[in-house]
């Protein structure tokens, strides 16, 4: 079947040696397998421990994307985010890289870095665009762990940062917060790391971290004070305003400084404890020493006295008022005010030292009550004085009153009670009160009633005047007007009266003239009075009319 159809003149193929062995093709799958294997090995090698971190919320956490970073280097990635069974928190599963194995230890801290805009500043702005990431801070522990609780706030101090941690005690936190700055000479040198209430609830403990190398400025005698915000205090001293920097106005802060005068300059040790004072002035003041409680009983009103009002001893700040209570005295049926105050005898400085020395020399114990007893014998009295007339704030002054009445004093009474005298302002008040009393005695009521009746009478009278007198008056006025018109008519130039008057005046003129002639004649001839007029009188020019006028004039 084969050889019948195939032509025999077919060409023969040329034979060459094959270049490549066909079985080399198996190199390709081997190579592929190697590549695949290397990938697997690589992935296995790079796979670090898987840890779980619990957070309050999964805000910003994106499974498969959110990286875990340490010093901005990615050390792992969130692979899954699940809700806890009781829905109280979320659990993020994080696979760390092989190189980050050391992060799965007991004291590693994790927190979510998100954009945070707070009073203290803005942080994590870059995560606005790139999305949140988990920050990590590793400690020194070697104990491995795979379950962590994430911090809600970034820690203020990363592990291994140069610097020291110090502990501060204070009465209240003020406006401080985690991350609040710590200032030294108004330069930020650290921040508040944590704070918590003391176990007995009577104060707050703060931890601050001061960065190196500035931590060496914290010496054993360094004073810390709260530089938070604007301190506006309206006290008996007037209005005070104090700030550290604009940032502390908003976010609060702690400042520290060395006290004035000679002091211990040895740098404080890590974890040293200090007291955090409310303000710079009190922080810088010499130490107050042991506080003592004293009590005073005032018989007058103490309006304007407030808790924290200063207590001064001869003008030296000595303590402050801590309580103001009302008491009731059955005997006198009055309400005395009981003022409690805390005083710091050491604030008196050398006076205190000397008093203590004296007391010791006398053999008394150096208790405040003993010392006070002697001072009270010499007239020491407490007085509520007005510190500020504008605001009416009162303060307590311990002063020597020259003619103070003797008071019984028992040094054994606890707490120590200081006798009081009414303040100068109170005296003034009493005098004012007397004046007011006198004024009160004036029978304003009856005076008022009388005045009222009088006024009513007057009212009636005026009404009468209005009703009766005024119309009459009107008619009278009209009559007067008429009369005046008549008079006017009578006096007008063409009235008969006027003409008569003119005639009369002329007549009078004539009469006067003839009278003058007569007197002239009589002057020249005085004898004419006796002898009568001479018949042969020399002719005179004016003579003829003169006698007639004389005669006529003398006739009427």
């Amino acid at each position: 079947m084969t050889d019948q159809q195939v032509p025999s003149d077919l060409p023969e193929p040329v034979v060459r040696k094959p270049r490549i062995n066909a079985s080399f093709v198996w190199l390709i799958p081997v190579l592929a397998a190697l590549v695949g294997l290397s990938l697997v090995i690589n992935a296995w090698m790079q796979a670090g421990p898987t840890i779980t971190i619990s957070f309050q919320s999964a805000e910003g956490l994106d499974p498969g994307k959110t990286p875990v970073k340490y010093k901005n280097v990615v050390i792992g990635r969130v692979t899954a985010v699940t809700l806890a069974k009781d829905r109280s928190h979320v659990t993020a599963k994080v696979s760390l890289e092989k190189s980050a194995e050391g992060f799965a230890t007991a004291d590693t801290r994790f927190w979510v870095v998100r954009p945070r805009i707070g009073l203290g500043g803005v942080s994590g702005i870059d995560t606005l665009l790139s999305g949140a990431f988990i920050g990590a801070d590793v400690g020194e522990s070697k104990e491995s762990r795979d379950e962590f609780t994430g911090l809600e706030e970034p820690p203020a101090v990363t592990h291994g940062a140069p610097g020291k941690t110090f502990k501060l005690h204070t009465d209240d936190l003020g406006s401080l917060d985690i991350g609040s700055p710590v200032y030294y000479r108004r330069i930020q040198v650290g921040r508040v790391v944590t704070y918590q209430l003391d176990k007995d609830g009577k104060g707050v403990s703060l931890q601050i971290f001061v960065d190196g190398p500035n931590d060496e400025f914290v010496s054993k005698s360094t004073r810390f004070w709260n530089a938070s915000g604007v301190d506006v205090s309206i006290g008996a001293d007037g209005v005070k305003l104090n700030t550290q920097s604009l940032a502390t106005v908003l976010a609060g802060g702690v400042a520290f400084g060395a006290p004035l005068g000679p002091h211990d300059e040895t740098p404080a040790e890590q974890g040293a404890e200090f007291r955090l004072f409310g303000e710079q002035a009190t922080a810088m003041a010499p130490p107050d020493g042991e506080p003592r409680y004293i009590r005073m009983r005032f018989d007058q009103s103490l309006r304007g006295l407030k808790v924290d009002a200063p207590v001064e001893f001869l003008g030296v700040p000595f303590g402050r008022v801590v309580s103001i209570n009302l008491d009731f005295d059955e005997k006198t049926q009055t309400f005395p005010v009981i003022v409690g105050a805390v005083v710091y005898p050491q604030r008196l400085g050398r006076a205190h030292d000397k008093l203590v020395a004296l007391a010791k020399a006398r053999g008394d114990d150096a208790q405040l009550s003993q010392m006070m007893g002697r001072l009270i014998e010499h007239g020491l009295r407490a007085q509520a004085r007005s510190g500020n007339l504008l605001t009416g704030q009162l303060y307590i002054a311990l002063d020597f009153v020259p003619k103070a009445p003797k008071v019984p004093y028992d040094p054994m009474v606890k707490p120590l009670e200081i006798p009081t005298v009414p303040g100068s302002f109170d005296k003034l008040q009493e005098q004012l009160a007397e004046i007011v009393d006198k004024i009160q005695k004036i029978p304003f009521d009856s005076i008022g009633q009388n005045a009222n009746a009088t006024l009513a009478e007057l009212n009636r009278t005026l009404k009468k005047v209005n009703d009766d007198v005024l119309p009459e008056f009107k008619t009278t006025l009209q009559g007067a007007q008429q009369t005046l018109g008549n008079a006017n008519n009578a006096l007008s130039a063409d009235s008969p009266l006027q003409q008569n008057l003119g005639g009369t005046v002329q007549e009078m003129q004539r009469t006067v003239r003839s009278l003058r002639v007569l007197t002239d004649y009589l002057g020249a001839h005085p004898d004419a009075l006796l002898r009568g007029r001479r018949a042969d009188a020399p002719p005179e020019r004016n003579a003829p009319p003169a006698p007639t006028s004389t005669q006529e004039g003398s006739k009427p």
Binding site: M1, T2, Q5, V6, L10, P11, E12, P13, V14, V15, R16, K17, P18, A22, S23, V25, W26, I28, P29, L31, A32, A33, V35, G36, L39, K65, L128, L129, S130, G131
Partner: protein, 208 residues
């Protein structure tokens, strides 16, 4: 219909693939066409083992191609690494189901189809079974045809990488997965090339 025609092999003949010259089969190793000097072989040389080796290599590389991300899209602040499958899912979820179907077909269905088809062809020709020879031949032609189209994903990545370069605003980067995927596609193409469809018809008793 029974077509019991003799094979060239049975007649001691060998045809050149390039110039079509028919020569006498001397059975010597490394025979070349006397006219065009291209290699002559009765069947493609070591077709079965080559195809199998290439197919196995392709399959091995197909695993990292799917597991590793192939493309990184970085828009403002958001970096997104996508594997083939996650890209398909993302397309589907974000409202382009048509594109998702295309990418899924080109990147998942076609390679898998090739693996299955070639595997089937290899297995069946190894056992020289007379089962569905024509259909198998059709299948081979189909595999050859769709081979060109499975590079779609690689092209997409290459194009996007070149086009989307807006610095911080938007950036597309190829990731190692795409290399493996490209290698897979190339290897499957070689595998289908090295498979000799004549093997389908070998060892038959009848040409059904």
């Amino acid at each position: 219909m029974s077509l019991d025609l003799p094979r060239a092999d049975e007649l001691g003949l060998i045809g050149c693939h390039v110039c079509g010259l028919v020569c006498r089969d001397t059975g010597a190793e490394g025979a070349h066409c006397p006219r065009c000097h291209s290699a002559l072989h009765r069947r493609k040389q070591a077709s079965y083992s080559r195809t199998l080796a290439l197919l196995l290599a392709a399959f091995m590389l197909y695993i990292p191609a799917n597991v590793l991300p192939i493309m990184r899209t970085a828009s403002v602040g958001d970096i997104d690494d996508n594997t083939i499958l996650s890209g398909v899912i993302e397309l589907w979820v974000k409202g382009s189901p048509d594109l998702a179907v295309i990418v899924f077909t080109a990147s998942i269905v076609v390679p898998m189809l090739k693996f299955l088809a070639l595997g089937l062809l290899l297995w069946s020709s190894r056992h020289a079974t007379p089962w569905a020879r024509r259909q198998r031949a059709k299948l081979y032609r189909l595999v050859e045809l769709i081979g060109y189209w499975s590079m779609l994903d690689v092209f997409v990545v290459a194009l996007l990488t070149a086009l989307v370069r807006f610095g911080v605003l938007s950036l597309v980067e190829p990731l190692p997965g795409v290399v493996f995927f490209g290698l897979t596609v190339i290897l499957t193409m070689f595998a289908s090339m090295s498979f000799d469809p004549r093997l389908i018809w070998d060892g038959r008793e009848s040409d059904d």
